[in-house]
Symmetry: C2
Subunit: 390 residues, 2 copies
């Protein structure tokens, strides 16, 4: 069983952070994507916390998952109700200690949280891109992050850290820029989605595209495909949890009722929870971005793209020290996928630590406060920081 | 690993069968449902195969799942491409041997395959019921089947057999009519849906209700909520399979392409499969029926309804000999649920056999040809038939 740490904003926080923008790939020097398409200019929204040390040897790049953003820790204003999405891990004295390290987190391209994506205005048409935005890959996301590192004058990354499709970006960083990456922490991740993971993503995409308001991606001036996006998010939420965690969290408990409604209202708490999650999500996320980012995750195939189908060959191009973490109840990115990754790393003589954490919260576990996860990440970072040439 | 038997229609079949209709609960003697609502008249579509013996001691009632119907085996016409849904199990010399037993299978109320449900004309309005059709329960389905048994003059059931929510009907038969049921075979079933199972059903229902064509269930004279129903079916199909079966069946294989499309077409075979399954389903199934039947499954809670929350107490009211079957890769109705059922049966001193079958096809396994399943069912039925008083 995991131990959980209560988060208390007033006690420990990086405090107020600021979202910054970095624009690059100005035409005619557009970015050439993996698909061959060209796009530009591109903007990345990013945030930093902690202090860059003199020799710039304390940089940790954090890579977010599907619905994340650059707001990894702290608050934009003192009145914010909630801190950034990984505030339980990133802060003074926390697992990723902002007293020691300089943290950078940027919103991925294709998203809708400040970086360029399908909801951005296309300068050529002065209308939102919609489906004219090219399909981007995990590799394209990493190339954009690399441009940001150049802009920030960062030449070495003490660590790249990310969960889920953030973990795919971690692996892609290691293979594209082995000389830059000292260490890497892929959490609850994989070198490629299983058929099951693709299937869930596809049904979620179909739910969005089935919504007449989706209108082939052109909905920015009219009603949005909120119903479709809500259903897509509900599907996602089921996959992020686990049979066990849903039993503990909801069981068959009824919602504000002593008996069944005998209609199609939400009778069970789990139904209300899903409806609420769906509704909340449409207020903050763009349906087209959901399509683009899930597609990027499904396309990712490390061994096919970098190892002619061999995981061992793909990892032979990497040099980082690895900490691979999986969670027992994660059935979307199951432990066996992390183990396969670790095996291929070991076959290449890479410095790899593997930790399977007992947790009942399914795939979501990597985002939740967990004393063991915090300790493992803290210890690993301390070791690589102390070992790295100053 | 399971062994599979090839089905060959020309070799073994019950041959031509006929769908019959039985109407009851004529007003003013309407059926009173568990919710307290009244409905009538009600029609059940049913089929029989095999021959009823003189003392009527060879009747097996088969209870279908969500999308099933009365057409359990054989063909309606010699030109039919496909036989009934359980033709691999039901027929001359098969696991449920029509040379020995008289098989009855009726379409559940709430469905759309000939029995009364939301798509039936409401005699009071001369329009399809839509959401005016009352929410029915597993118990209501069983009461309708009981009326059919009375109509057929059947007083003893050698066996009641069903998988998934058909298995819930099996249990409900055993508790409502213990004096009638000699033996019972719940397959891949449970005494109550887990939060996970409810969650999947709820998202599927939301997908239907999010389709503007659903129109609060009034769509019978206009465009149907095909997109929503297709998404609902796709969600279902994922849950019927398993991580392992999807890997074997699809892996990451691409669909008729050497590379990715870099758009939102179906790139992977698993995507095409799901789209096809969704499309095929809307041609034969009614969206409202999907809502009603999944809700009935979610409401079912044997111990709450019949045991004051105690499974042991609920089973104390039963008298049948049981064969409980689960499948290793079924994560929708997992083995632990069947084991809990068996434990409660044993505590009541019931005659119970339990069989967990090694199968990689997930929840779908109970419908697929499987030599072990066939042998286990055949053996159990032979024993109870030989033991039962003639």
């Amino acid at each position: 069983m995991s131990e959980y740490i209560e988060h208390d904003r007033d006690k420990i926080s990086v405090g107020i952070v600021e979202k910054k923008l970095f624009t690059f790939a100005e035409p005619p020097d557009e970015m050439v994507l993996e698909s061959g398409a060209r796009v530009g200019p591109l903007t990345l929204a990013y945030e930093t916390c902690g202090t860059l040390n003199e020799d710039k040897s304390n940089v940790i790049l954090i890579l977010h998952a599907l619905s994340g953003d650059s707001h990894v820790a702290g608050y934009y204003t003192p009145d914010d109700e909630k801190p950034g999405w990984w505030d339980n891990m990133v802060g003074p004295g926390k697992g990723i200690d902002t007293d020691k390290y300089f943290i950078v987190c940027s919103n991925i391209i294709g998203s809708c949280m400040g970086s360029t994506g399908p909801c951005t205005i296309n300068p050529k048409t002065v209308l939102p891109y919609g489906l004219d935005f090219p399909v981007v890959t995990i590799g394209d996301m990493v190339e954009a992050q690399k441009a940001l590192m150049v802009h920030l004058g960062v030449k070495k990354l003490l660590a790249v850290v990310g969960g889920s499709i953030g973990g795919m970006q971690v692996l892609e960083w290691c293979i594209r820029y082995p000389e830059m990456v000292v260490s890497a922490i892929p959490l609850a991740s994989t070198t490629k989605h299983s058929a099951l993971a693709i299937a869930f993503n596809e049904v979620a995409r179909q739910a969005i595209m089935a919504d007449p308001n989706w209108n082939d991606g052109e909905y920015y001036f009219g009603p949005k495909p909120d119903m479709g996006l809500a259903v897509a998010r509900m599907i996602g939420h089921i996959t992020y949890l686990s049979d066990e965690s849903m039993r503990l969290k909801f069981g068959r408990r009824l919602q504000d009722k002593s008996d069944f409604s005998f209609n199609f209202d939400a009778d069970f708490q789990v139904e209300s929870y899903l409806r609420y999650q769906g509704k909340k999500f449409v207020e903050r996320f763009d349906a087209n971005s959901f399509l683009y980012i899930t597609k990027a995750g499904d396309y990712y195939d490390l061994e096919k793209q970098h190892g002619d189908g061999s995981e061992v060959k793909a990892f032979s191009k990497m040099a980082a020290a690895f900490l691979v973490v999986s969670f027992t109840s994660d059935w979307l990115y199951p432990t066996y996928q992390s183990r396969a990754m670790v095996k291929a790393m070991k076959k290449n003589g890479l410095d790899v630590s593997f930790c399977e954490i007992e947790a009942e919260w399914g795939h979501d576990a990597f985002l939740l406060p967990n004393a063991r996860l915090t300790a493992v990440i803290r210890g690993f970072l301390e070791r690589v920081f102390n070992q790295s040439p100053k």
